[in-house]
């Protein structure tokens, strides 16, 4: 990689590369400032005369499927993370590509996981040129140590859909792991030994990729009912012994945090929603599967019961705790982006009020609206937040890649965005002067809830008014920061970092929000 990459300062004041992996970039312009033009990308026209009339698209194995789909060097191969750390299909596909003998692939996963560290060897061998998708663990270290040939591109779930739609990324071959499928390619995630719930992350790929391969370990006779992936978009179907390790696909049960400090944060957030009046009949909220978020749902459920309040819908990451809300009649619907535990999987398979959604319906910038802005409140995590409420979710404060963006950026569009965070971790303060990697602009982040108090963004005078006179510990964010710095023995030193970009963070609209720099 060329060490002299041209940089420009974007609207957030961050230095970002002007060109990424040979493509000119638009620097971040501000929230809602970027106006896309032109037409959406589209796959080539296909004809049913080229597909078997009996609907049987099975081929022997992944290598045959990739050859059949015309795999060549330099192509873009996509995969999806609905099987999470249990996924076997993405690596199998990339290894099959290696056997075909191609080089310089761009791997475009919806997210990568530590169990896919085998991709490092494929990068070392030149099979994979670089990864555009979230990286953490060993892959994250590989990228931040500057060992990847291309630049990493981190996108939100909605941003991935946007990139596919506006042609920023053109997928040559999509490989979709399917817990259940028929020979025509109809596929679904709610049944089968590797059931994982929604396959929403693969929907864009199934409609926009040149070629689509479905891999399943549970082939059923046509029709696969229900089908979330339509076989009409699918080129080949491959049967595999196992698409993943069920123990890592879903957790048996998701666990509420037992830490008293984190429980306290969760309770603060629930009380904030109640006392600000956001928790009212017909409201909606989103919370993920982290320990604090789960505990928040549990507290809120009790408050909803006490106050006789019912939600119109809740958004997941579904877990047992959201399913309980549905079963207790405390919400009309679950709109589910991904399914985290067995209770969630069982519910989505059996309860028509538990709906599989996708990044298109929920998050996409190029949609005619999306659900994210219609959610009343969302509870999220972050690694750092600054005094202007800008937040970092992708890197440690030392600059190493830690998390994917997931739906995090997209969720910031909710009516009230709450970051629920311990005020320090291992002596490292969470509230800082300036975040290491800007992932979310402060103007979209309304509340920071810590165990030492709740800071409300001064831009949200309406929220400040709503909780005025309540018994909640509302404090200026600078106050909490100063207290934590006292406890931790002063401000932390700023880690030194190089001037060499190794990855970029895209904003939801495809512009470049920030840069991840090489770490020694």
């Amino acid at each position: 990689m060329n060490d002299r990459i041209e940089l420009a300062r974007n609207a957030a004041g961050r230095m970002t590369p002007v060109v990424v992996n040979g493509k000119p970039q638009t620097p971040y312009l501000g929230v809602g400032k970027y106006q896309p033009t032109g037409s959406k990308a589209a796959p080539p026209i296909r004809s049913n005369r080229d597909y078997p009339r009996n609907g049987d698209k099975r081929v022997a194995d992944l290598e045959t499927a990739l050859r059949h789909c015309g795999l060549r060097g330099g192509m873009v191969i996509s995969s999806h993370h609905h099987l999470r750390d249990g996924d076997r299909v993405a690596l199998l596909a990339l290894e099959a590509a290696a056997k075909v003998g191609v080089k310089d692939l761009l791997w475009f996963p919806s997210a990568s996981f530590p169990s896919q560290k085998g991709a490092i060897e494929l990068m070392d061998k030149g099979v994979i040129h670089h990864i555009e998708g979230s990286m953490n663990g060993p892959l994250g270290d590989y990228c931040t140590q500057g060992k990847m040939r291309g630049m990493g591109v981190l996108r939100s779930h909605g941003g991935r859909w946007q990139a596919i739609q506006d042609g920023d990324v053109h997928i040559d071959i999509a490989v979709i792991a399917a817990p259940t499928a028929d020979a025509f390619g109809n596929a679904d995630g709610s049944h089968g030994k590797s059931a994982c719930g929604s396959l929403g992350f693969a929907l864009a790929d199934s409609t926009y990729a040149d070629r689509v391969i479905v891999v399943t370990d549970n082939l059923v006779p046509f029709p696969c009912i229900p089908w979330q992936i339509q076989g009409n978009n699918v080129d080949c179907v491959v049967e595999a012994d196992s698409i993943g390790d069920p123990a890592k696909i879903v957790s048996g049960t998701t666990q509420i945090t037992r830490s008293p400090d984190r429980l306290r944060i969760a309770e603060f957030v629930a009380r904030f929603l109640r006392q600000s009046g956001i928790m009212r009949n017909g409201f909606s909220f989103q919370a993920g599967a982290g320990g604090i978020a789960l505990a928040f749902v549990d507290y809120l459920r009790r408050m909803m019961k006490e106050d006789g309040v019912k939600a119109r819908f809740v958004r997941g990451g579904s877990t047992r705790y959201l399913v309980e809300l549905l079963q207790d009649g405390l919400t009309d619907y679950i709109l589910d982006g991904q399914t985290f535990d067995l209770d969630g999987v069982k519910s989505i398979a059996s309860d028509p009020r538990h709906i599989a959604s996708s990044p298109f319906t929920s998050y996409n910038y190029h949609g005619k609206g999306n659900f994210a802005s219609m959610v009343d409140a969302v509870v999220l995590g972050a690694t750092e937040v600054d005094v202007n409420f800008n937040a970092n979710v992708v890197t440690h404060s030392d600059g190493r890649l830690l998390h994917g963006i997931g739906g995090w950026q997209n969720c910031l569009d909710a009516g009230c965005t709450i970051l629920a965070l311990p005020s320090f971790r291992d002596r490292i303060p969470v509230i800082v002067d300036e975040v290491t990697t800007l992932t979310g602009p402060g103007e979209l982040i309304d509340v920071v809830a810590t165990e030492r108090g709740i800071a409300v963004n001064p831009r949200r005078q309406d929220l400040l008014d709503a909780v005025k006179g309540s018994d909640l510990p509302i404090r200026p964010i600078q106050d909490i920061k100063a207290e934590v710095e006292r406890i931790c023995g002063g401000k932390p030193a700023r880690p030194k970092r190089s001037t060499r970009p190794v990855a970029v963070v895209k904003w939801v609209d495809g512009t470049v929000l920030d840069t991840v720099w090489q770490v020694a």
Binding site: P260, D261, L263, R264, S397, D398, R425, D426, R427, I428, E451, R452, I487, C488, G489, G490, P492, A493, P495, K496
Partner: protein, 400 residues
């Protein structure tokens, strides 16, 4: 390399599961100054700060030549200082204290003898990660424990850590209690902690007034020597049949005794009976303790409820204890605090009735009536007195 003259001293903990602690090894040297070797998960943020602090602490300890290896797991400054000092002492390099290198946290008002003591949250004296956020959960008191939760081999290190915490950790409005060890070890604990002015000392396994008098005299002497003017109250813990039988003498052994409490694990062991959730086996002991406490004008405080998961059982235990005359109990997890406060609070009905009684009494006083009546009922003086106490207590809890 310089020859080491004595064996190295080590203190603290490290490892993947350890949080907010550090392991420090100090190896004495004859010459060559200080060599500090640091491995820390927060090195890039606080590496320089840690080196500076360790050098300061060693200077205060008058350690001139040593090799110091630190495995830091995000220890806060008061913990790091304690681990360095304990390791240096174990290496027999110093008898000095480095407590003065730590900045003093703001102290709450001195504690009143009869202050509200519904809950006291136990913090094991060798587990610093629990110290820092303990006060956020708003117990009436935190209790830094040097006794049963600390391994015998860790007593010296825990004593230093607790001393540093008393100085540097902001425990907010909580009363700062320390449970010392049984005498005579407990006297060494006092030497270390009294200069940092804890609000109350729990004296375990008290069986006779002489033990209380000994602790009281030692504290008085240390207070004078170190210029401590804040009161330091005593709460003897009765944990044996003999202790219970001596309850009255113990409660009156010093005017600094503010409360009596009971240790049920040891007490039931002494009786040779099982400890049950209903607590019938300790009914006599607890009643005797309450009676002795009230007879001496001090508070009666109950033991702990050991099953953190059983909130219903905790509530039941607490309500029962309050009905017996106890005014508070211990908590072994922050999650128990709200339930304990609820259990020891008078109900709104009781508060309302007591307010009516007090109002009726005041009205009768104004009118110069000798007899107080509420509706058709005559109110006796002890009923008025009880109502006054209840209202006063409810006010302290912010309930009336």
């Amino acid at each position: 390399m310089a020859e080491s003259t004595t064996t190295a001293g080590e203190a603290g903990h490290w490892g993947k599961e350890v949080r907010s602690d550090a392991h420090v090894a100090v190896e004495p040297r004859d010459r060559g100054g200080l060599e500090i070797e640091l491995e820390s998960r927060v090195a890039i943020y606080y590496g320089d700060a840690i080196r500076t602090q360790v050098a300061q602490v060693l200077d205060a300890l008058a350690v001139k030549h040593a090799r110091v290896s630190i495995h830091d797991e995000g220890a806060l400054p008061f913990v790091l200082a304690a681990r360095v000092e304990a390791a240096a002492k174990r290496a027999a390099l110093t008898r000095a204290s480095a407590v003065a290198t730590l900045e003093k946290a703001a102290l709450a008002q001195p504690s009143a003898k009869n202050r509200l003591r519904r809950s006291r949250l136990y913090l094991p004296g060798s587990e610093p990660k629990y110290f820092i956020n303990a006060a956020l959960h708003l117990p009436d008191a935190i209790i830094l424990d040097l006794e049963d939760s600390v391994h015998p081999a860790e007593k010296d290190a825990a004593r230093i850590l607790v001393r540093n915490a008393l100085r540097a950790v902001d425990f907010g409005t909580c009363e700062r209690m320390v449970r010392i060890n049984q005498l005579p070890l407990g006297l060494e604990d006092l030497n270390e902690i009294i200069p940092e002015a804890p609000d109350l000392v729990l004296v375990p396994k008290t069986e006779n007034p002489g033990q209380v008098a000994k602790v009281d005299a030692t504290i008085a002497e240390l207070k004078t020597r170190h210029g401590i003017t804040r009161p330091i109250w005593l709460m003897p813990i009765l944990e044996s049949a003999l202790g219970i039988e001596s309850a009255l003498a113990i409660a009156t052994a010093s005017p600094n005794v503010a409360a009596l409490t009971i240790g049920l694990e040891d007490y039931t062991a002494d009786l040779g009976v099982a400890k049950t959730p209903e607590g019938h086996e300790s009914l006599y002991a607890r009643s005797r303790l309450v009676n002795a406490a009230k007879a001496s004008g001090v508070q009666a405080i109950d033991s702990v409820f050991g099953d953190v998961a059983d909130m219903q059982g905790l509530r039941h235990w607490g309500e029962n204890a309050r009905a017996m005359g106890f005014e508070g109990m211990g908590c072994i997890h922050p999650g128990q605090i709200p339930a304990v406060h609820e259990a020891f609070a008078p109900s709104q009905g009781e508060i309302d009735k007591a307010l009516r009684i007090v109002a009726a009494f005041e009205e009768a006083q104004q009118k110069g009536l000798g007899v107080v009546s509420l509706g058709s009922k005559m109110i006796d003086p002890p009923v008025v007195e009880r109502a006054r106490k209840l209202v006063e207590r409810a006010r302290k809890m912010g309930k009336a």
